[in-house]
Amino acid sequence: MTETLYCRDEADARPRLDRFDARTRIVTALALIVAALVVRSPFVLMAGLAGLVAFAWFCELRAKEIAGRLLHAEGFLLVLLILLPLTVPGPAALSLGPVELSAPGLDRALKIFLRVNFSALAVLILLAGMEPVRFGHALAGLGVPEKLAHLLLFAARWVALIKEEGLRLHDAMRARAFKASTSLHTFRTLGFFCGQLLVRALERAERIDEAMRCRGFAGRFVLAAEERPGRSDGLFAAGAAVAIIAAVALDRLT
């Protein structure tokens, strides 16, 4: 319905991961990403990436979802992957006619490719399928300031509403045969679209503010933590910790 204007690739839920505490998933994802930054050997990174792909398969992620997500991260990567082997000084590893690919440049590009994809995959598996509300509560549980957690919770709640508002505007534009192209007309139309979206959001904000005051909102919600880390969380975190420590040890010892 909205392919022309919006990118739609929100992730699906992960039934096999949902039994774990959201905080465990957040901390594990962060630990994995930091570990990928610390590890220097491309072989260990490759093994880690293979392990994550296997884990993704276990969590029943579809290959299409993984590929679509990883492509997002590649904008930067494409430029660096092409230019690093050409521009980093060093002995040539490969010459294709006049073009020489330097060995340190290739090494650098390979490591970056592995690290970026490993990190993106870790976020996709562990965090992308999580309900934003659950994510917000978990962040508050991890010590993120309450105001920020509230901001995140409210914003996550209203993204769906504002998106509906945007879809209504988009339908109205399509009913008037609007088709986006590279033209001043498109830019003006999209400017008015954003402007109108803002006007409606501001008016909605006033209504919400009044409604919440009517119900006695004084700026605070109690962030009730329903989740309790259980034994399975301990096992999961211990497994991840063992894998990370083993990978870092292997990287430093070899």
């Binding site: 204007l5 919006y6 929100e10 992730a11 962060l30 990403i33 930054l37 997500r69 990883l70 997002h72 991260a73 904008g75 930067f76 430029v79 660096l80 050409l86 521009t87 690290r115 970026v116 990190s119 993106a120 976020v123 965090l127 934003p132 300031p145 105001k147 920020l148 509230h150 901001l151 995140l152 409210f154 914003a155 996550a156 209203w158 993204v159 509403l161 504002i162 998106k163 945007g166 986006a180 590279t182 498109t186 830019f187 003006r188 999209l190 400017g191 008015f192 954003c194 402007g195 979206l197 803002l198 006007v199 959001a201 501001l202 909605r204 904000a205 919400i208 503010d209 004084a218 605070r220």
Partner: protein, 211 residues
């Protein structure tokens, strides 16, 4: 390409970005009145939705940053609002990363807020100007905002590794279409808001037909 993913930057740059972000957020959250949270949040989600719109540029398309516009509408509150937007983008859509969140916030929000604070001072003095003139003025500011973001991204990459230096020119080039498109669209947004809801820009409503 304003969102730097995990795995590219060096530890000192990541830590520097995180420290600036924590500092900026702490200052802002302290000033943020609790009753303002719902309004800030709904505007954060509006900008999040608006930044999902793909604007066609030739054969490709760009997503708007809207940091200058956010700064104009939200003032300093734009920093936590952008942070929330970036966090949701990183987690739900895979734009940017978690460890690079601090650097990304500095790159995107700080130039926008700085330019917007300056633009607001000028706007307050621009009483008699019409919507078109104000829109054009803000467009110029917005172009600088995007250039500021490009400069911050380049600095983050350059400080991380000298190997990135030759690639920076190509990355910087990709910001030119974004700066132009963002400037033009933000100009139209501001001209629209000036006509329809001037108080959202901190301006007083003018009598009908004055604009």
């Amino acid at each position: 390409m304003a969102h730097i993913p995990d795995g590219l930057l060096s530890a000192p740059v990541l830590i520097g970005g995180a420290v600036l972000t924590v500092g900026g957020l702490a200052l802002d959250l302290q000033r943020l009145d609790e009753s303002e949270i719902p309004k800030t949040a709904i505007l954060a989600s509006t900008f999040f939705v608006a930044s999902l719109v793909a604007v066609p540029v030739g054969p490709s398309s760009v997503h708007l940053l809207l940091s200058g516009l956010m700064g104009l509408v939200l003032g300093l509150r734009a920093i936590p609002a952008v942070f929330v937007g970036l966090l949701l983008q990183a987690v739900l859509f895979g734009f940017g990363g978690l460890t690079s969140l601090g650097v990304d916030l500095v790159n995107i929000a700080f130039p926008g807020v700085a330019a917007a604070l300056l633009a607001r001072l000028l706007l307050a003095k621009a009483h008699g100007l019409g919507a078109a003139a104000i829109g054009a003025g803000v467009a110029a500011f917005t172009a600088f905002t995007v250039v500021g973001t490009a400069a911050c991204v380049s600095a983050a990459l350059a400080l991380s590794s000298a190997d990135y230096l030759p690639s920076l020119r190509v990355i910087a080039l990709t910001y030119i279409p974004l700066a132009l498109v963002e400037a033009v669209i933000t100009g139209f947004v501001i001209a629209y808001l000036k006509r329809v809801k001037p108080e959202s820009l901190g301006l007083t409503a003018q009598p009908e037909g004055a604009a």
